[in-house]
Symmetry: C2
DNA sequence: CTGAAAGCGCTTACAG
DNA sequence: CTGAAAGCGCTTACAG
């Protein structure tokens, strides 16, 4: 592989000058620049990323830490983040934490060791204050997606969970559901709590809230099956189910079909997230879609601003993701 | 961050000696080693990966190029590869080619530029000889998964596609299917061709092969829907469908349900690959499972052998993956 | 506008 | 068994 020295020699200049044109820094005569460009092309020169990183403390790479790539929500996020990163000239490193805070922190260390310029964390984790202060110590720009945090050093974003949940319930009411159940997400996760609040609020407005219509799940497909079976057993009158995420909605459909319930005629169903998977089912499943692609994009762009020191683009601790609207996607499971 | 120089100073030795204990290379007195270890701990020293890579031409990272993380087959592969890589002390970089050879090659260049030690390619691509010679030029150990290639420099692996397909058909026959259709994968892909061959061979044995029972798909869910609708339309007598991959089987189930066909009573269904997704459906879908996790594991281990120069562990061009057996997983769609 | 030189943090012959 | 020194391929003040 050609080095900067080879290019310099061929162009008859010093390596410093070549470096200047590579980085577009400092002045360089147009003609010598042309000469250098030509030499680079001739030698098929590409700068050595490692050497650059060593000298620079910058590697043009960012990392994304997610709970589990096997959860169908995340590939879509990964894709969005990867696309955005590439567009900005960054390479993406990926880490799966398996829903474990320790693993997440360990990955942060690994990535720091690889000198990524910044890290994105999708926090379905519950970082405690000790974890957070550890993340702080990393001293790498870090951006946490979809989680409200109090820590000033770690920016965060979330979507309109409360509002989306309200929309889901009202939609079920609109199509005629009278007994609307909820499969709730894990208590410790902020989005799950918000979605539950939205559900509760909407039903209290019409005087229809019934705590016994709420079953707990853990955002997994299996827990959606279980919760639905319990609901059906306790309350055969239920005619609408709002699952706090799409995966549990999938499980819910499975349980409904297994019990011979007609969907949506006997029981209507809606999820939350908007993953593409929902269209694989018959009937196709309705959902409240969050703009996963846009969120991934925005997260990268914000992270890069952090990297470049424009820390206050959105103001510390502002709820950045509030600018993203959730959207009702009506499909067969709520179309009577 | 502490550097090797800090450690050396604290331990009262030279950086060369510290380097020796880090790399466990050359002789070093047990006592000075202890001193150095202690200093490293005290300073929380971790070697700078970039500097190491520069000096070494080795970064302890490998790359994986896949067609599309959004296809549910791949997260499982990624997970297997990531786990294995970590276990060997390697970090994984990921690239999505979007089924495009150019993108794949571009990623290879990016990764080369990042000095990964090796790259794994899952080739649902059809690399032509020009592409292959380009890959050759990269001069990085490369291992192509699930594809037969003639090129000596690029090792390849595949699973027992022919046999698996035969098993699928025989299974359908065993449960009483008389009119077995096939949704075929893309002609240009080796596994798709092999699976078709297996289907054909099994049916010819009993004199039941009928070319008109074969519809083409492209391994996508949607193509499974379309192919099934065409089959149902042309041949209402069909009572069994073998889809060349799981995603098309999912589409097939969707079409069957939409048309009000009872599965498996009227039409039985089996896929190929063994992705976990299949268990999300009601009824759960049968499949011929390839050991994705084991394959990912083996691919990493082979790649690392290549990196370490043990090129002939399996012999050039041997069909490495032949050691992995496929397995019939009978679920509700083939249980009468 | 351009070049010489030091430095980024390691590794690796080469001496001793 | 250990150290001094050169080298990996860049960038960046500092001079000029």
């Amino acid at each position: 592989m050609a080095t900067i020295r080879d290019v310099a020699k061929l162009a008859g200049v010093s390596v410093a000058t070549v470096s200047r044109v590579i980085n577009q820094s400092g002045y360089v005569n147009k003609q010598t620049e042309d000469k250098i460009m030509k030499s680079m092309r001739e030698l098929q020169y590409t700068p050595n990323t490692l050497a650059r990183g060593l000298a620079n403390k910058k590697t043009d790479s960012i990392a994304l830490i997610i709970p589990n790539i096997t959860n169908p929500f995340f590939p879509e996020l990964v894709q969005a983040v990867e696309d955005a990163a590439n567009r900005y000239g960054y390479t993406l490193l990926l880490g799966n934490s398996y829903n474990n805070e320790e693993n997440a922190l360990q990955y942060i260390h690994i990535f720091k060791n690889r000198f990524v310029d910044g890290v994105l964390i999708f926090a379905s984790h519950q970082f405690d204050s000790k974890d957070l202060s550890e993340i702080d110590k990393i001293e790498i720009p870090t951006f946490v997606i979809d989680k409200a945090l109090d820590n000033n050093q770690i920016f965060s974003a979330k979507n309109r969970n409360f509002m989306g949940a309200t929309m889901a319930v009202e939609h079920l009411q609109t199509i005629g559901c009278r007994h609307i159940a909820h499969i709730r997400g894990p208590e410790k996760l902020f989005p799950a709590r918000e979605r539950f609040r939205g559900y509760q609020d909407a039903l209290e407005k019409t005087g229809d809230f019934n705590p016994s219509y709420v079953e707990n799940g853990d955002f997994s497909m299996e827990s959606g099956v279980e919760a639905t079976l319990r609901l059906l057993d306790k309350h055969p009158e239920i005619d609408g189910i709002f699952a706090a995420n799409d995966l549990m909605a999938v499980g819910s459909l499975k349980a409904l079909q297994r019990q011979g319930k007609k969907v949506p005629d006997q029981v209507a169903l809606i999820g939350y997230d908007g993953i593409q998977l929902l269209q694989m089912f018959e009937p196709e499943i309705s959902t409240i879609a969050i703009p996963i692609y846009d969120i991934g994009n925005a997260a990268v762009s914000i992270l890069i601003d952090l990297i470049n020191g424009k820390e206050n683009r959105f103001g510390i601790n502002s709820n950045i993701m509030d600018e993203f609207e959730v959207k009702l996607i009506q499909r067969a499971t709520t179309t009577k």
